[in-house]
Amino acid sequence: MVSLRSDLATREHAVNRMVQRQQHRGPDDRGLHSDGPATLGMCRLAIIDPANGHQPMTSPDGRFTLVFNGAIYNYRALQTELALGGWNFRTNCDTEVLLAAYALHGAACLSRLRGMFAFAIWDAREQSLFAARDPLGIKPLYYARLPDSGIILASELNALLASGAVPREIDPTSAGEYLAWFSVPAPRTIYRGIANLPPGHQLTLDAAGRLKTGPWWQLPAPTRPDIATNYHDFIQGLRHQLDDSIRAHRVADVPVGAFLSGGMDSTAVVGLMTRSGATKLKTFSLIFGEAGFSEQASARLAAETFGTEHHEELLTGARVAADLPQLLASFDQPTGDGINTYYASQTARRGGVTVALSGLGGDELFGGYPSFRDLPRLQRLLPLWRRLPAGLRRNVVDQLRARPTVRARKLADFLAHARDLHELASLQRRVLPETVRLSLLAPEARAQAERLGPNHPMLEDFAFELIGADPFQVISAWELRTYMADVLLRDSDVFSMAHSLELRVPFVDRQLLEWLWPQRPWFKYDPRHPKRALADATADLVPAAIRNRRKQGFALPFAQWMLAELRPFLDETFSTTSLGACPWLQATEVQQVWTDYKTKRDPRAWSRVWTLAVLIAFANRRPAP
């Protein structure tokens, strides 16, 4: 917190409250440091050099003070290099390496870091603050300006609210965005006045209180001369990169395990971990009583193949219903996803590991989603569609919108609004068709949603970043920049840290991505065999039964639970009393969604109903004491 007008005691009190509110993120140590108008606080989950590395960490000359969340995987190499440059290391901790790297190289150090991070550094000499976030958004960083031109930052929104310096006011525009995307896309957050520093961005606050934010990393150029020229070389190169990433992500001085769902991605990660020397590896998966959801057999096959100590946790609707108060309390923002991560993390932490690796990111990098197959087809049809007379097109769109199915209405959104692949990629990730979303919003929020339109708020930024990219890169980037960054990674951070577990994602690795990105698209993706490249690169590890299995996803039997164990919660959530806390929603329309779900029992509608329910329940949360 940097506040030019508040006194030291007020500031330290506020930061102490923030640290307390996110104690679960770091139960091993905590600290506070004040200098001039700045107070930095930290609670630490000790992973590397647990005995040392106390934060906030100040440079020997007293100029720089650092608070850092995450892990720098190449810290040993950097340490050697920085020591040669004259830095006298006091610890073997990545925190000190980051401090030294910034002290010696300033913001330029960012490009040399391999890892996941969000950090802030106070420069006592310049009286300025620098903060940055990792390239793909694994670790979060939220901030709000203070009325005195100061700033307050934290890894969780709940911590910012706990400071008492930021009002807890849900932004109706953000609520509208949430209904479109399953989450509130950065740089917005669900709260008015609080921003989410986007992935790969840095922030500077100077002594005069001027704030500047901007990207320090962007996706690589679409092509490069030194790429693989044949598939064999490509697969060999990919395997080398995967091995390298796994080695880097295993760096820790505490036990490291892995999530193992039994799908291609997590099996590949576990296989690569064992190949890189992990012994007595602990793996964790969720299983369900309901038929068709468990990947128990695949996970067991993988565990047996790699000889891991495998832990299974039975998850039932009754347990989720009983845990809902804790679950909702751990939410930082509403999300339509993430409950699986909450339980998998709980299982892993109880199973004795402090760090777990996950296969998150495999679908985005290797074309695991149907969007990689469907969107290029739609893109080819767009010019033909746009050549039809405008009246006819309007008619078709109106007819599709009049149909009751969400599929028809989503198609109507594509036809009405998409002009190129970026807009197709943007629209395909929407949860609710535009007409349905607008009907659920109260007039003020609806007017704002209509002004902003149905496309993703960052459409132009992403489209400009991808000029010259091929269709596979465009779709991959959209998946990386939207669903992965705003939903999967955000949920993974919040729900793993809720159990003091550090979740690492070796597929979401800058080095791997920068190598893979310019490679030929037909090497990376085959529409007949999604994720063929990953399967071929790990063919000696992943059992054929798993490589050849169709993608199942890490899904929960929510459709059933919502009509059984979770029904009382949902009935209460959709009640008039509960909806009173959501003046930006059109209560009767929202209640109709729940009534329709109960009567029509369309199992595919569950995520839309749940998304709404979470938003309402979130708005009804009471602040933690």
Partner: protein, 359 residues
């Protein structure tokens, strides 16, 4: 250098494109050189010389052809004038295919496109794509427009797209007796200048009106002056009535240059929170009067408004808009800094940039 300039309009109506094309005419006359010649062909204007033409021409200016919306005549004249020209500057994408046609009759002819804004932020037809590929250079009024063109037509060689930011009309500069700054504010007195067309609701005039109740909560005497005309006016007037802010919003209708200058001079800040400005010439006009500007963080606007000259808000975010007005009132921008920023877009700099792009 023998140059032909194609424009949709120069003097018929007072639109943004017409205003900037007049400055292209003036700059091209200077660039053509002592032995050069400039012809102007205008699709919509009436035949004959408008009295204002002399302001924008020099001795190098030769022929002014107005086609009174006659497309066939426009095509014929383009071919005729193009035959004896070295350079053809095309002021609108819709006329680019005709420029390409003219080159069939004069293979030495190099043609250029002026890419303004919304008219090029879209997918292109086959004919447009071919014409774009044949253009020697594309003169984009902002980096934003340049990127939009590359987005919708990635096959365009990026080096052919050059940014030539719009400029201020030297004849619009404040007169000596204009009151160019007035601080601190008494009320805030907010000015907006825009076409009020039902097809251009993205300009955000409605959002400014919607922000007025919030602005007035803090500044009860705040006023909003809306300059412009169009078929969206009844909707905006109804909005004013519905919000009960009739006594703090004035619709002036269209104004003469002189009256508009007076509006710029007496306002406290200028606002146009538009979602799709290619550049936002009106911001520059306001800045020459030292007025802080409020725009949306969208389109080419962020290339014109800096922290030192105003504030950017999210398009359509009413509370943010009201907060930004309050912030600009509480922390007025230094009018001298604002004026100096406008100077960086002055006509001589524009002419130099254009000459370099045509070289």
């Amino acid at each position: 250098m023998r140059i032909v300039l194609l424009s949709p309009e120069l003097f018929l109506h007072e639109g943004g494109i017409a205003r900037i094309m007049r400055l292209y005419l003036k700059a091209l006359c200077e660039i053509a050189g002592p032995a050069g010649r400039v012809d102007s062909l205008v699709l919509n204007d009436h035949p004959g010389r408008d009295e204002r033409l002399t302001r924008y021409t020099t001795a190098q200016f030769h022929e002014q052809v107005g086609c009174r919306r006659g497309k066939l005549r426009f095509i014929r004249e383009t071919i005729r004038l193009g035959r004896r020209a070295d350079v053809l500057v095309c002021g609108h994408l819709h006329q680019l295919a005709i420029s390409q046609l003219a080159r069939l009759f004069n293979p030495r002819l190099k043609y250029y496109l002026v890419a303004h804004g919304i008219e090029v932020w879209r997918p292109y037809s086959l004919i447009e794509r071919r014409a774009l590929l044949g253009a020697h250079r594309i003169l984009c009024i902002s980096e934003y427009t340049r990127r939009q063109m590359l987005r919708f037509f990635p096959a365009l060689p990026p080096e052919r797209l050059v940014v030539v930011p719009n400029t201020l009309d030297p004849y619009f500069a404040p007169a000596l007796n204009d009151q160019v700054s007035k601080a601190p504010f008494a009320t805030p007195h907010i000015l907006t200048v825009s076409r009020l067309s039902s097809t251009d609701t993205y300009k955000g005039v409605d959002t400014l009106i919607e922000a007025m109740p919030l602005v007035r909560r803090e500044f009860p005497l705040a006023r909003l002056r809306v300059v412009g005309q169009g078929d969206d006016l009844p909707r905006l007037q109804a909005l004013v009535q519905r919000l009960g802010v009739g006594f703090s919003v004035d619709f002036t209708g269209p104004l003469s240059d002189e009256a508009l200058r007076a509006e710029y001079a007496i306002c406290d800040l200028f606002a146009l929170p538009s979602r799709k400005e290619g550049f936002g010439l009106v911001f520059l006009e306001a800045m020459t009067y030292g007025k802080a500007c409020l725009g949306a963080r969208a389109g080419g606007t962020p290339e014109v408004i800096t922290d030192a000259t105003g504030q950017l808000v999210e398009y359509g975010n009413i509370p943010d808009l009201a907060a930004a007005v309050a912030d600009l009132v509480r922390h007025p921008r230094d009018s001298e800094v604002v004026r100096r920023h406008a100077d960086t877009f002055a006509f001589p700099a524009f002419t130099r940039r254009l000459a370099a792009a045509l070289a």
